[in-house]
Amino acid sequence: MKTNQSVKRLRKKLIPFLILIVSLFVLMIELMPIMVVVTSGFKRDIDIWARGPFYFKPTLESYKQVLSNRDFLLSLKNSLVVGLISTAISIIVGSMASYGLTRYVFKFKEIIAYTFLGFRMIPQISLVIPLYVMFNYLKLRDTLTGIVLAHVSFNIPYVVWLLLPFFAAVPRDYEEAARVDGATENQVFWRIFFPLVSPGLVVASVFAFLMSWNEFLYALILTSVNARTAPVAVNGLLGQYAPKWGQLTAAGTIMLIPVFVITLTLQKYIIKGLISGGIKG
């Protein structure tokens, strides 16, 4: 009896300790590849090739090379512009649609709502083939307009769906008060409702921007020189035989900065967004 109890007491003390160790272990494994990328960006190619993974004497050489590479800088600018514009369009158009779906009763409403969800599930490779032919015909290939349109195509359905629960949770009192005061539907939406749901809009914007920032397939197929985005440029740095790992990882690290900042600062919203909208890989 007595030994049984002391075993129990020992377990009570030991288990939290074990959980701590296991958590640290999981975290270490999970972050190790990221560490490798970030540290490799501060190495010279020759050191990566010749001195193995654990040699670390930081230098800014690779960053200097990448940041003086005009093609990469252009692609970085393109990524930023495409991300911001496609996010803005998706938020405006998407939040209007989401508002329409949460605030009005009409025929086919549920079908339309489900259709938006269905759109989110369309594989990009299935769309990129017709888009390539269409863009060729419309002279939109390798233009920023074209790639913005392509990104809007996956961001609008996403934004509509992400916003539904956020919008539905807002009480109608303010809007109704405004209507009583004689505001038009348009004014009610932009002046009263839009500011009320700003937390939801922030989450949706962040996700839309990240998806655009991370997107590769459309950019690979639909752009070549002028409208090339950064993920494609990074892939382009990967030569056939001897990859320039220093530059590649430096460029990769630069691309990861917004991702890290956003993920870590907006963490509690991100989880909410992840759950309500799901995510795209």
């Binding site: 629960p165 590769f216 197929i221």
Partner: protein, 304 residues
């Protein structure tokens, strides 16, 4: 629980003449028609032609010919098989790891909050960077994973040039990046469970495994099912990370579906044929999405 807010809205008096809901919905519907619905219809149209990208004038209508061709295309069947294996191996592993880590980290305290948020990082990393990272880690002479493999006595090999190993590593890459997605979903579900149920089981003297299988798992089933289906749809269209990591090779050992479609369309320029494969993939994805919608768990967050 279900779509209360979708059907529970009140009728609002019309102020601007035309029905206001169309005013709000039309811009999205117009754009979506132009760059989603129309391309889908167009790809259906394309899939009925023998159509070469650079000889568009010579395209020939062949009806369902492309689709019959698919069943005879060994490379396509191979891609389908690889895709199937990928889903069947990677997703259960991600779910199980996600589930147990969620149990593990379901504790109060600053430390665990920090661990939870740091674990989310890989999910948001660019797929391209992820593929690049694993390619670097597996470099035979200087990659970190290779370093440890060598220490374990496997010798130095060009790992990504070995078909089975490359395929395995594509899966490892995906598990590394996406189990935290399952974790976050399941963790959110876990914190939503009423504590009394678990505490009641503990008072009854239930063991850890009884608690997990008899109490927690049944309660979390809808959450896990939704997360799993969402992952499934995404796993079906995996492209960037594999493209960067192995390019589908060696040979076609990692030529998953999207990569093969891309190859047919933009390396061989058989866009009619590629479109027909795109249609098959699309139908597969929409079929699975149907179950997500029918499960109706997506609406849970809505309170009318």
């Amino acid at each position: 629980m279900n779509s209360t807010s979708l059907s529970g809205s009140k009728k609002v008096k019309n102020f601007g003449g035309a029905s206001p809901h169309w005013f709000f919905l039309t811009p999205a519907l117009v754009i979506v028609f132009a760059i989603l619905i129309f391309p889908v219809i167009y790809s259906l149209y394309m899939s009925t032609f023998d159509w070469h990208l650079f000889y568009s004038a010579e395209r020939k209508f062949i009806g369902l010919g492309n689709f019959f061709q698919l069943f005879k295309d060994r490379e396509f069947l191979h891609s389908l098989w690889l895709q199937f294996g990928f889903v069947v191996i990677a997703l259960p592993i991600e779910t199980v790891i996600g589930f147990f880590v969620a149990l593990l980290l379901n504790r109060d305290g600053k430390f665990y909050a920090v661990v939870r948020s740091l674990l989310l990082l890989p999910v948001f990393i660019l797929p391209v960077i992820s593929g690049l990272t694993w390619r670097l880690l597996l470099q035979p002479e200087y990659g970190m994973v290779s370093f440890f493999l060598e220490k374990l006595g496997f010798g130095i090999k060009a790992w990504l040039a070995e078909p089975d190993f490359a395929y395995g590593m594509v899966i490892v890459q995906d598990v590394w990046r996406m189990w935290p997605f399952m974790f976050m979903f399941i963790y959110a579900g876990l914190t939503g469970l009423p504590r009394e149920i678990i505490e009641a089981a503990e008072i009854d003297g239930a063991s850890f495994w009884t608690k997990v299988f008899k109490v927690i798992l049944p309660q979390l089933r809808p959450t896990i099912a939704t997360a799993f289906l969402l992952r499934l749809v995404d796993a079906l269209r995996i492209f960037s990370e594999v493209y960067v990591m192995t390019g589908g090779g060696p040979g076609n050992a990692t030529m998953l579906l999207s990569l093969y479609i891309n190859k047919q369309a933009f390396e061989f320029f058989n866009i009619g044929y590629a479109a027909s494969m795109g249609v098959v993939l699309l139908i597969l994805a929409l079929f699975l999405s149907f179950f997500i919608v029918r499960g109706n768990v997506k609406f849970e967050g809505e309170r009318g």
